[in-house]
Amino acid sequence: MHTIKERKYIKMKIFKIEEGKAYFVSEDGNWELVNNITAQKLKHLISKSFYEDITFDEETDQNKISNPASRIIYNKLIDKLKSLNENKEDIIREVEQEYKQAFEKYSE
């Protein structure tokens, strides 16, 4: 079982902006346009965020997303994942606490 102390944090970029286009990392490790996001792919990103230290590009004047729809999707998803990232430790701690006694007992 991974505990908070045992987990190795790996810096992993899951969202990027490149040449005016917005991308996210898919299950096979490739970059996909953010407009192609699906529920399954978002689930994968959420799962990934538990055991890896995720990073993402923020939009700047120098690094803008040219497509307005892409910009909206990108920024909304970043907000969600940011919120998850901020609460990640608490979530992991809470769930591990729920399972702690059971793992201790049945790991005979």
């Binding site: 529920a39 978002l42 909206i72 909304k76 919120s83 059971a102 007992k105």
Partner: protein
Amino acid sequence: MKKIDLHIHTKSTVSDSNFEFSMDSMIKFVEVNELDVIAITNHNIFDINQFNEISDKLDCVVLPGVEVDIENGHLLVITDIENLDLFNSQCESLSALIKTENDSIDYDQFTNLFKNYKDYLLIPHTQKDPKISQSTIEKFNENIVCGEVGSNGKWQVTYKNEHLLTPVLFSDIRIKDETKDDHDYYSVRNTYLECNEINISNLKDTLKVRSKVHVNKEKLEGFFEIGDNLLASTGLNIILGKRSSGKTYILERLAKSEWNNVKYIQQFELSAGSKNDKFDEKLNQLYDSMATEYYKEFDTVVKSCIKINNKENNLNINSYIETLVEFAKVESEKNEFAKAALYSSENYSIISIVEVETLIDAVTNIIDAKTEYKEIIEKYLIREQLVKLHNELLINKIGKQKSNIIINETNDVLNNIRLELKKHSNIPQITEFDIIKFAKDILRIKKFNELVEISKKEVTKKVDEEFGFKIIRKREMYTGPTDLNNVYKPRVKFGDAYPLYENPYEYLEKMIEIGVENSSIHKLFFKVTFEAQNQFDKKLSGGERSEFILLDKLKYNELDEVILLDEPESSFDNIFLNENIATKIGELAKTSTVFISTHNPNIAVHLNSNNIIYTTNDDGIFKSYNGEINSSELKGKYGVVSTKTVLLDLMEAGVDAYNKRKEIYKNENI
């Protein structure tokens, strides 16, 4: 000596379970038990007509009485026949006060009802529920001389303690209309008094002196009557005899007697229960609470997983993505519309033709004048010029009208375009999506799957020791749908669920779908069973299983007044019964009355029994005798038999066989 029973019920009241009185049973009860004196003592009522009828039918002394609910205990109140009418009247008043099984009067009410209670025999429940408290007894002072106890064992203990009231033991029987053999009427609660003339005063005087009170005719301490001229010890009794000599008959009769609590362990219970599958089932039942305790944490985890609505979670995330993409598309398109000049442009105004039409009408009127004004007009205006003016005005109007057509068409197009532009400005809402909750549920499912994988690993562990045997707990995987059915009995389609056994969360979802109760699902991921092993770490043999079952049945005996064991040795490997059982029986006999039937006299010797009841079939006549093992004779209604002869006969298959073996033992230096 007089044999008395002063606690007999003949009427069903709110304090009794329903029964119909039978005069035939009343007569038979008195006859079989050879009673000299009885008292009719129903709960808080007295039926004078029934009492008189009973008195007429019986040869023994019948005393009027009542069992009173006083200060939450029971008190027998008995009087002489001479007080019958007064007593009847007093009981009528009593009945008016006590209507339900929870009603009770207090001391003051009692003394008010029974003003002459000092002339009555008052017998409280002392070592018998519901007890009268010591403080209540003290209120009556010297008017209470004895106390009713609930068993022969308690009688013996109370009798030895001079500080306690003289104990008395009565049947407390309900005389019912039922079909019974004569032997079934025997009471096991009997009291004898060394008293001649029966009246309340004499009874009270006798009961004050404990040496005049007995529970058997022979006045033997530690023994009581069980009918058919037989005595039993309050400790350990061995019913000894060859096969088909009537041992089981005596046990069966004793099992039906009026004890507070009787435990009857029949021979087949041990042999049937010791079969492998039955034993395993029984063992797992015994350790069910330990299994429940072992599953506890897993049950908590399963219940929290059941609450995860994965389908709803998936719908939510799907809806979120769909509405997000739609929103983004529409929101971004709204900016382009806003840029369009047409989105915010105004319509063109129509050009008015009212003035030119007025002018055209005026010029037309001047040109077309036919009356006296024609000459005046032509004096100043040339007709030809007027016609030219009219035509030019007309051309002007037509030009304006043409422009208005174009303006209207243009405005229509503008309106349509703006309408379309406005439609695209209704931006859809993004569905709420709680990513924190969603993430927690994903993590819970992941953890659950990990936990189940760990828990499926086979583990055995000693968890208890019982009766000298080890109790092993085994945890292992389920092997298939049938294996699941052995644990969860209601018929569900385990065949549909088991294929998902390797995917715990999906397996869980399937269990819910096929209708397994939430309270039982946690037991279906890994199996927990218990096994008993002997000192060699092997599963128990048949004899060992019997021993375990017997000791388990004898485990909780605090409430057992009597314990009956039918030929226990036939189920064991060792015909002498091993030390565990012998020790246990010895312990039991200190607090309960134990009867063991056997055809092996060694058991009588080995167990240090207090009393032997010897049964024999003498040319079709069943005879029984009893006595202490170290006495020279055993006595019964058919006379006496030699104890030595009985033991030799049973042990050594007769004296001749014994003598032959004696030679062998001598030759072999045994």
